[in-house]
């Protein structure tokens, strides 16, 4: 546990945005110890100016070699935190897409949000059913 009372010790704070940054190596939350996959990336060249790497590492995962392909996950991150001291209150991540790299090129495979889709279609069908029933009732001859 870190000094905030939650999270592992190796959680860092991105001073630029005040966000919690988990190092890429510590991002694995699987209970099964995973074999360290060989990294398909080379080392980055030396850069003159520091890039905002922590922010992009929150969104994009580490490249993982799977067979002949390299896969990178992309997620959306929403964080709510107190404006006064910057302490995070709530955070959630949503998978957005999978980036697939192989000999044929780079493909982005979007991930559909199933919960949102089910909610959306339930509300839509209820709305259609309401108007259908209203139309049927209006078509019935009125009894005097």
């Amino acid at each position: 546990m870190n000094s905030n009372g939650h999270g592992p010790d190796d959680v860092l704070l991105d001073t630029e945005l005040g966000l919690r940054v988990t190092p890429a190596g510590a991002r694995e939350s699987s209970s099964v110890a995973a074999e360290p996959a060989p990294s398909p990336t080379d080392a980055l060249p030396e850069l003159d100016a520091p890039l905002p790497a922590p922010v992009t590492t929150l969104v994009f995962g580490e490249p993982r070699g799977v067979g002949d392909k390299t896969i990178i996950s992309a997620t959306g991150v929403q964080t709510v935190y107190r404006a006064s001291d910057g302490a995070p209150i709530y955070s959630c991540t949503t998978p957005v897409a999978i980036i697939e790299v192989d000999d044929h090129g780079v493909r982005i495979k979007p991930i559909a949000n199933t919960r949102l889709t089910i909610l959306m279609w339930t509300l839509t069908l209820a709305w259609i059913a309401y108007w259908l029933l209203r139309t049927l009732r209006a078509r019935q001859p009125q009894r005097h």
Binding site: L51, T56, A83, V96, V101
Partner: protein, 88 residues
Amino acid sequence: MVRSGPIYIRTRTRVISLVEEARVTEHEVSGLRLSRLRPRALFVIDEQGVHRVRFASANMPKLALALLAVICAPLQYRLFARRPGHEQ
């Protein structure tokens, strides 16, 4: 808008460089700050040049279809309902 440094990915036959682009939006409401980070695009640099590939939302076509259905649902009432004012 933030971009990562180039990532070099070696496939069997070539090396592809990727630059990731993410969008950062922040809103502040009554002492709470909401920060949203979303992947926006990917720059692919290979022997054919530089391509910018956008992240298309998988939900957007379904949302558009549902919105169309929601808008068209009251039309059946207007077209088929027998309203008293319209009858002789």
